[in-house]
């Protein structure tokens, strides 16, 4: 248990009551069961909320960076444009540590350089309640150090037998918790139970990277010509699902949507994906990443190398969503481990003997 974090305890009944109060005061989204699988959805009754142990299909990015959002509104006759910045007080419940890490990266993208008012307005008005998880076959966050998180949430929930242990992440979180409930100080047994759950989680990872995360940018930098790109390029559909489900894929297209009577319309941005064929195409039908192998190499490098130059952080949080969703089973851990394996056989690699490395 993190010593710097304050904890509270809520009984199951107390927690349900807290959720009901939130529903009365805010627009609430949280994890629900959709066709038997965990997903984020609107919570209009405290019973809707099902804290998910394994990752949701889509990440929580849609609440801050929706699949489609209007940026401007224009009038065709006068030509005038006015900005649209939509936001509202909302609560997102059930984001796992990887989702929160992903959100932290999105925050940096949208606030570095030119600030993105649309993203930041939504972010500002969202209360984030994280929740703990258990890995499935695809989760490999532990290899990237994102299996636990001590910031990026207002409150964080760990389910234990007798109720919920709540970590306080912000004053806003603390205030809302004590406004709507009477949280108790946690007992030692609660903390011990939660520490045990964390240990169990750490032991449960089936997917792992076979090199420490610090080595990944270097390994990717040597792998531009690796045969794995052609191998996965040959089976990839170029469907863009991996981009859509990823909590740190933020690329978008911007286009105008005109009303049917042609009087006006909106300039909107929609999610786009670097695995889609048109993504890097310019006039004259020239495509800078013509093959699927080129596009997958770009996507993977963005996660482990390109953006780390820019933001000094890896851009994969290990949620396994891209692997989980891929129809042809292209698996980000397996691909990365293949690169690691072959980088290591080149014995001069980073000058560190293979035996001295984690694996």
């Amino acid at each position: 248990m993190d010593k710097d974090i304050e904890y509270r305890f809520l009984t199951h009944a107390g927690f349900r009551k807290f959720i009901s109060c939130l529903i009365d005061g805010f627009v609430v989204y949280g994890t629900i069961k959709k066709d038997g699988f965990p997903a984020f959805g609107p919570i209009t009754d405290s019973k809707d909320l099902v804290l998910a142990r394994t990752p949701t299909h889509l990440s929580a990015k849609e609440f801050f960076f929706p699949q489609r959002e209007a940026l401007l509104e224009f009038d065709m006759a006068s030509g005038s444009h006015s900005p649209i910045v939509e936001s509202r007080d909302q609560v997102v419940i059930g984001a796992h540590p990887c989702d929160l890490a992903g959100l932290g990266l999105m925050d940096r993208v949208f606030s570095t350089g030119s600030t993105d008012v649309n993203y930041l307005a939504r972010r500002e008005r969202t209360l984030i309640i994280g929740a703990d998880c258990m890995p499935d076959d695809y989760c490999f966050c532990e290899s990237l150090g994102t299996e636990t998180i001590d910031k990026g949430f207002d409150l964080f929930l760990t389910e234990i037998k007798s109720g919920l242990l709540v970590s306080i992440g912000s004053e806003k979180g603390e205030a809302i918790l004590s406004k709507y409930t009477k949280p108790l100080p946690p007992k030692d047994v609660h903390l011990r139970e939660s520490a045990k759950a964390l240990e169990k989680k750490k032991r449960s990872f089936k997917a792992r990277l076979s090199a420490p995360k610090e080595e990944l940018p270097g390994i990717y930098a040597k792998s531009d010509a690796h045969p794995v790109w052609e191998k996965i390029g040959a089976i990839c559909y170029g469907c863009g699902s991996c981009n859509n489900v990823c909590p740190t894929c933020y690329c978008f297209d911007v286009k105008d949507e005109v009303t049917p009577d042609l009087s006006g319309g909106e300039r909107v941005r929609v999610w786009d994906g670097c695995t889609l064929e048109e993504f890097a195409k310019v006039a004259g039908d020239h495509n800078f990443r013509r093959s699927r192998a080129d596009r997958l190499r770009h996507r993977f490098n963005r996660k482990f190398r390109y953006l780390s130059d820019k933001f000094n952080s890896l851009f994969c949080v290990g949620c396994g969503r891209c692997s989980r969703t891929c129809l042809v089973k292209i698996n980000i851990t397996e691909v990365t481990n293949e690169l690691i394996r072959d980088a290591r056989t080149e014995d001069e690699y980073l000058g560190v003997p293979a035996a001295a490395r984690k694996g």
Partner: protein, 278 residues
Amino acid sequence: MQEQKTNISAYLPLRARVEKVSRLTDREKLFTVSVPTGLKLRYSPGQFFMAGLPGYGEAPFSITSACLSPEDTTFELGIREVGNLSAAIHRLVSGDSLWIRGPFGRGFDVSGFAGKDALFIAGGIGMVPMRSLIKTLAWQGAGNKYTVIYGAKTPEELLFRDEMEGWRDKGFDVKLTIDKPHPDWSGNVGVVTTLIPGVRLDPEKTVAIIIGPPIMYKFVIMSLKEKGLGPEAILVSLERRMKCGLGKCGHCQIHSSYVCQEGPVYKLSELKDMPEAL
């Protein structure tokens, strides 16, 4: 739940006014555009604006004029009709509005040309941004050796031919070429690279600038290397798909570099570890 609206958006364009439209070729028109009064217009050659029209979206267009005075209130765009937006812009007449954001990108560092000879190599519409650099350096008139090599598919597609006498008067050696023989053409025939071997240059003090269609770069660079020019002495301006100009949408990304911000102008040496760049 009240919806909140605020008023600062990096996507909000400014209304600019089309002052003059002239036809350059069958496919390209030159637009003289003025910015709203009170607005300071500052740009360097190689930079671009995101220009758009409501209902048609926006796209990056290079500035083809040179910013020679802080009092400038107009700039020029040379636009080829290739799709929806460019066709709609081609329908504008003087007095109409064009909506702009920018200028964006890293243009040419003009001070870096001091004391240097320059070899300008342009293909097709690449002359649009090149003209801005040529005009800027011509205005500085530093007495260096400037050579322009410019090629297009046909004689009609060569842009700004009527201005080239003026460049020659300023001491520029202008060499033109077209891809295939043409009845109205008595000059050089062949792609731009065919003119490079004939240029006499001092590799110690020459900078070469390349702007053209994507396939042109590799061949031109090979010829320049044969002339003894190193990667520090070669500048390129790169085209990529661009949707924001703000380093966010990801379309323009080459490896770690966002072309809309760190480009479009690069030294070849900066592209060393970026095999996707060229």
